[in-house]
């Protein structure tokens, strides 16, 4: 039953988080700019604009506006995007699959590269490959994703002509209604390659270094010495006994990083004209599309709570000594 209590607690936390976010989002919206500017032409008179503001309820007192927002929000209505002229949550639902594709693409690259490389660096710290990987990761961590992305585009799209430079392509496959993915066609994957590499480039150095240092620490521990003394095969020592315990902190950090990754999709998606949440958000900010901005941060807040919850659950599977809530031990 501990798990049920845990989930309920997390659910309440999520509601609280979203409430606080909405309040913050709502109170800063006046500083974002004037949404009317993006809705009407430059020559439209101030009187005409004022009338529109009145009609849209933008001149009402803060509490009245917020109360109206909350009333609609509990019914699942976070307002209508000024730019898209559709419910903000619908717009977000439309853009979500593209971002998930990108995050999965980047996660695959991160796992496939950082795990073997991190382990190798721990096992053979003096080899040339380890030294090169450590050096490259210093450089990698200090190059902004913007530059990485543009470099990738010029190398692989413009000069070599191997990969497309923007968008998701035209052959997306609808796996469930309203959810299209690019992973099922060659063309879709070709569009995913560069953005995924760009996005993963920010996280790779961190994960390689993290896995390396954790693994080195584990390799120093007594039970590993016993394993060596027992004469176990090196592969067994490294990958079964040592690696499993290396994973614990990696999972925790990984969960937090998924949230950060959402933040970095803003840059990556902008450069690649990737029609996902990040690009939508930055556009909404420049257009002062406040309903969409607030809906986005609420959804992202929810994603943070959900990923943290999932990470905690996985943690208990990997390490049974961890208890979720104060259950008797």
């Amino acid at each position: 039953m501990a798990i049920v209590a845990f989930l309920i607690k997390r659910l309440l936390q999520a509601v609280l988080v979203m409430f606080v976010i909405s309040l913050i989002g709502f109170s800063i919206q006046d500083n974002l700019g004037d949404p009317l500017r993006e809705l009407v032409g430059q020559a439209v008179s101030e009187a005409e604009r004022e009338a529109l503001r009145d009609r849209m309820g933008l001149n009402d007192p803060f509490l009245e506006q917020y109360w109206r927002f909350l009333g609609n929000a509990v019914q699942g209505d976070l307002g209508v995007s000024y730019h898209f002229k559709r419910p903000a949550l619908d717009v977000i639902a439309d853009k979500f699959p593209a971002t998930v594709d990108l995050v999965i693409g980047a996660a695959i690259i991160i796992v496939l590269v950082s795990v073997p490389l991190g382990c190798w660096c721990a096992i053979q710290p003096r080899s040339w490959l380890s030294q090169a990987a450590m050096g490259a990761s210093i450089v990698g961590i200090s190059i902004p994703v913007f530059l990485t992305a543009i470099f990738l585009i010029y190398l692989f799209s413009v000069n070599l002509g191997w990969l497309p430079s923007f968008g998701r392509g035209e052959s997306l496959v609808e796996i469930v209604p309203g959810w299209k993915t690019g992973f099922l066609t060659g063309e879709g994957i070709s569009h995913l390659v560069l953005p995924s590499i760009a996005l993963s480039s920010i996280f790779l150095p961190l994960f390689i270094r993290l896995i390396r240092s954790e693994m080195m620490e584990v390799l120093e521990q007594d039970y590993i010495r016993y394993a060596w003394a027992k004469g176990l095969a090196p592969r067994r020592v490294w990958f079964l006994h040592a690696f499993k315990n290396t994973l614990l902190p990696v999972i925790t950090v990984g969960g937090v990083q998924i949230g950060l990754m959402l933040a970095y999709t803003i840059l990556t998606e902008t450069v690649f004209q990737w029609p996902g949440l990040g690009f939508m958000f930055i556009e909404a900010v420049t257009r002062v599309d406040t309903p969409l901005i607030i809906a986005y941060i609420i959804v992202v807040g929810l994603i943070f709570v959900v990923t943290n919850t999932v990470v905690d659950l996985i943690y208990t599977l990997v390490n049974p000594t961890v208890r979720l809530v104060g259950a008797p031990s």
């Binding site: 032409g41 020559a43 101030e46 010029y154 497309p164």
Partner: protein
Amino acid sequence: MTFQFTKIATGALLACAVAVGAGIAGVAPAEAKTLRMAYDADPVSLDPQEQLSGGTLEMAHMVFDPLVRFTKELEYEPRLAESWEQIDDLTMRFHLREGVVFHSGNPFTAEDVVFTLERLKGSPDFKALFEPFEGAKIIDDHTVDLVTVEPYPLVLNLATYLFPMDKAFYTGTDDNGKPKDAIVKHGSTFASTNASGTGPFVVRAREQGVRVEFERFADYWDTESPGNVTEIIFTPIKEDPTRVASLLSGGVDFIKPVPPTDLERLGNEEGVNLVTMGGTRIITLQMNQDRVEAFKDPRVRQAIVYAINNQGIVDKIMKGFATVAAQQSAPGQVGHAADLKPRYDLDKAKALMAEAGYEDGFSITMMAPNNRYVNDDKIAEAAAAMLARINIKVDLTTIPKAQYWPEFDVRAADIMMIGWHPDTEDSANYTEFLLMTPDAETGYGQYNSGNYSNPEVDKLIIQSQSMVDQEARAKVLQQVERLLYEDAAFVPLHWQDLSWASRDGVHIEDIVNVMDFPYLGDLVID
């Protein structure tokens, strides 16, 4: 994402069927040519009257046709109006083209013109432009009179904004019980997602912000047009380097705009067709006389104009990709006074400051946007540095446009940057908005953050508004530019250039123009 395109889709299918039928009947079908293009943004709506913006008008020239349009040389070219004549001081008679059909299949008649003008007069964005019009009067099915309240010199200018909409198509109520012709700023309307115009292209599919697909209208009236594009795939690409890379990698055939930093590179690139042209968007600085006592003295204002090296800004910051300005009206516009020259002269500036008793200078604030005009923040920084040389210490703030406009509305700094492109392509429009005495009633001087006021200028502009004699009117408008120049009413910087690029074989040079509405219906691809 599904849009209610059933009607148009059906129409398009029928059109295809007809085209295929014609092919079988022995008429050689035109070779299919697809244009993939990337602008920095896609149209916000399919309703040509919802928002007065470049994006809307670009879309309107694809899906709709105006009564008349400007040629590259700013001459009037007949479109849905075959000819026109002035009947009396208030009336211009338009003879409409016969045999034109809308995408819906409905025939185009004078009724549609009346409907369109009425709707324009009710659109928040367009009503001010069309205020001078009393209305449209039907003479017969293909003759219509546009009647103005007073003699009005810009009837033809505004006829370029009159894109007849299909009255039958936009009449009635949609699935939600809302009127189909409604214009709503916040919320969806029938007209913003459905379109029936007479234009060369029919919208086949649209996913806002991602892509719009067009295909050529099989029954398009202009069979003389050399245009051979049968399909357009329009993807907005916001980021400058990505847009350029997409052209270079062959992902798209045509891009606009080209960022100034890439002009030289694209100009030298094999296989790229780069086209640039002087534009009509003037970038200026306004000096607020209400906030700074010294700005009331014309000598101080002149000193500032003399101190700012606008040629240097064009050369160094704009990389030559702008035309240095000494007035608002661009070359080619009626009010352009060719004798006015840029006047950078630092010694003269210092002398003027001394003469005005401000040798030791003073401190002011300055504000500019950082994402509205090309290099806007860098231009402001340069101007601030130049003013330091005549001892004017500038506290500069640059902010995103979303936050800039509210600041501009309350005149939050002593010097503010403003760019202007006249919706009417007419010289008087600059002064009406930027430099006439601010008046909330009439709306004049809405963007005059300097609070410059000159009764002579106001009088001349109002006079020009009802002068039908174009030559005499041009003289009056040039007189206005000279007065403003002498008075140093504002700091003229430059007109932004326009730029387009395509791969070789896509002949964009024939279809682009100073309004920046490429006439894609006439585009030829080898």
